[in-house]
Symmetry: D2
């Protein structure tokens, strides 16, 4: 029976890598449906994403590949399997709603295991879609206590990615460290402009002519994680900061959904504080 | 004989302003070719740009208008007259070249009085277009001495605007203050991201997916002056910072020329650290 | 008590119009919150949209304004009142879903009276939001019979605009004529490129590097009505036409919602086969 | 001594191609600096562009590669060598000027052998840059006679590409056929919208909200050749068609220069009426 797999390789660059890897595919009589590589010369790093089809045993393929790769290579052979995500939200519905509609439509290639809100504002919306909503209040708790409560819930579920769909809380290093490269956030500005609170107010005060949105992996440096996708929206002097916020929401939700789509298709490699997008 | 004028008003907002102003136009039997207004409610400021045609004496029109405007109104009645600009450059030719070609074509509605370079790299290019190039070296001079030399040259010429077409030097408060609202700069980033030196290197290091360019009036706060125009260019992980720089230059020159065009057509009001663009 | 109204004027251009209109506002002691005008010189047409506040009787204001306007002026004094819309859909959920989420959020400044589908695919989604869904099948009916059934339903409801949110049927001249300037459509291409069926397939076959979406008023000429808003999305050779369709949907929904927002705020004048957007 | 070459392959798709090709590189001890592939599944076509460095004899490498490729493969091993271009122009200076400035700056990686105008309007501009300008008038000649005159001139020169920098004449099939895949044109619209004469007038009449520019290879179907690059510029109801033309010129010149840059770096494969851009 035909199997399809995505082979992801992230390793030290070396002469002959493409040859050695493609030889493994060839020796296994695999078809290459899609292949993309990138070499970061300055960092001497090699990245490759190949979609192969054929009759093969994944673990054996992985072993054969590992033999031709440098030590410490990050190698993944990913079989078709629906991914699972958990959404964290606060009060704003646009980014969440965009994902819910895509999910209901079957367009989102992931199951939403749960939506967790530090407020219950969005419970009604989520429940329309028969997805579990959990209200885990933050008020009255220390940051650590609140995250402890969140972790108890999410760790009881299986998930691939945490999606911060306008989650208006800062995560502790402990939390971020635990789910490294698995937390995706949408920041409501064109990073690195307007880091921090109320970027639309900042943008208004600065008098910019374009606003933006940035989807990124969350790291311990606030708003400094590897950027996955960005987009911009023109504004002018007639926009109040509320108008900018309203206009910016369209950008936020589209950029977050685009980034999520890239991540769910295993098209994103994290490379230091940057991303390689295939 | 028909006269055409742009009437620019920047004043405290007040009830009946549009009526009173349009009454003056009406009483003078003027045609309104084009009219744009903006009220900044929070600042209680009124901005208006009207193009009128008819038979009138400009000074009388100005006087009549001043009578119906609040005290301290900034009122200008601008008659058709070719503006004069001086360009300041360093070594890069793209922004300068774009302006020179537009000028040679008759598209730029201004005369270029001179191009001043702190290096002589661009002398050959400028001279092709029969425009005076002056090399005013900065090396071996204090910042103040160098600016003194520049001022001697430009003050001997008549000009409306100084255009910094990739002029890679920081101006002193004294210089900036002397030519307030008359110095236009192109910054090679999407401000306020990447203020300061080598924004492309900064953008590369940050791993952004979009780079930008910003044309702004120069004030004493470095890269903080009122923004006139901005634009962006998509990039990806395959761009080195040199590639970003190369791609970014297209944005820089187009944004600078667009901003210059707006300013030359008296479409830009400076309002605090922002602009109103009509 | 303070009243707020939008005054919309569309008439033959004439000298002194701004003066005469603003005099009416002044004589009624009204504040002008916002004012935009446009004169189409070649067509000698004048357009104005003014937001006024003050103590006034709307009908009296309208009468006073009519006295100073040319005969046959199209004048509307619009008081704050929530508008009503009806959505027509077929099977795709993205444009509909975007509007439903905005509606649920309170962001959409209109009530959705009903959603009508020629298929029942979207009934489940609509019902989640407690909005009436009506399935009016087209199969087995002539075009005229089907539209007759639609008209019976919508004429029994009150509505300001019909929004075709990916309604995949062509309307007859009779239907279009009955609801002139009140039907908004989203076309899944950058009009006038790729008029007609399956624009993404056409775009793919043509090998374009950018795809688009166009929101427009529906007229009898298929895909030829006045354009309200357009946007574009970059594509490349790696996109199948299905990929283009998927990517294009984001543009479609955003452009439709943006156009709908403009129309609901009375910012759109239809001027022949064009629009004036204030 | 180290040699660097671009290896371009365009052939029937087959299992093991990447392996066989990379084996050749490996056996020759070459480094792969950059590698991009694309398979068009529906057409069963394979495209590859690889930059290799090492010690090799180009003809031997080509022979070895040809042995592992399907029959009729289009294979090119391109050594670093400055390309030569000839520009054809009419009266407008913006696209020409942009290329001249880049050339003078050293940014354009090609030599301009000559500029040929069917008018002499641009002679003065070209001569500033010490590039031969030839005036080959079209008036008073049949289309065939005129092209005969052009061919005599260009065939006496060596060149890689003909660049139509706003050349406002239609070429005959004979001319186009002679220089297949070597003629690049900039069309002043977002193709396929507004094919033919005066696209800005057409765009104005249609009331579009975005205008565009398209760089493409010239084929016998007017404005139907494979698209290399496109870009767009927002417009609104205040733009006359002359304003659109003025704004559009910025797009035209940037898109043409971007397409030219791609072509000069051998990044463009023609695939039927489409392009693959690596």
């Amino acid at each position: 029976m035909e199997t399809k797999a995505k082979v992801l390789i992230d390793c030290q660059d070396a002469k002959g890598l493409v040859y050695r890897i493609s030889k493994v595919f060839f020796d296994n009589d695999l078809n290459i449906d899609n292949n993309r590589e990138f070499v970061d010369k300055s960092a001497e790093k090699f990245f490759m994403r190949t979609v192969v089809t054929g009759q093969f045993e994944p673990h054996e393929l992985e072993e054969e590949l590992r033999e031709v790769l440098p030590a410490n290579a990050d190698l993944r052979v990913i079989l078709p399997k629906r991914k699972k995500i958990i959404l964290l939200v606060t009060k704003e519905s646009h980014a969440l709603g965009d994902i819910l509609i895509r999910h209901a439509d079957g367009e989102l290639e992931a199951d939403i295991e749960a939506v967790i809100g530090n407020h219950n504002t969005l419970e009604e919306l989520v429940c329309k879609f028969n997805i579990p909503f959990m209200h885990i209040p933050a008020e009255g708790y220390s940051r650590e206590e609140h995250e402890e409560n969140v972790m108890q819930v999410i760790d009881a579920l299986e998930f691939d990615y945490l999606v911060l769909a306008k989650y208006m809380r800062i995560l502790t290093p402990a939390f971020v460290g635990k789910y490294e490269k698995r937390i995706i956030n949408i920041h409501h500005s064109f990073l690195p402009a307007f880091i921090g609170a109320n970027p639309y107010k900042q943008a208004y005060d600065r008098g910019v002519k374009i606003i933006g949105a940035t989807a990124h992996f969350v790291t311990n440096d606030l708003d400094e994680g590897p950027i996955i996708a960005q987009d911009v929206i023109p504004v002018n002097h007639r926009f109040s900061w509320k108008d900018m916020q309203r206009a910016g929401r369209d950008g936020e939700k589209i950029v977050l959904s685009r980034a999520l789509n890239l991540v769910l298709h295993d098209r994103v490699f994290v490379h230091g504080n940057k991303t390689i997008i295939f």
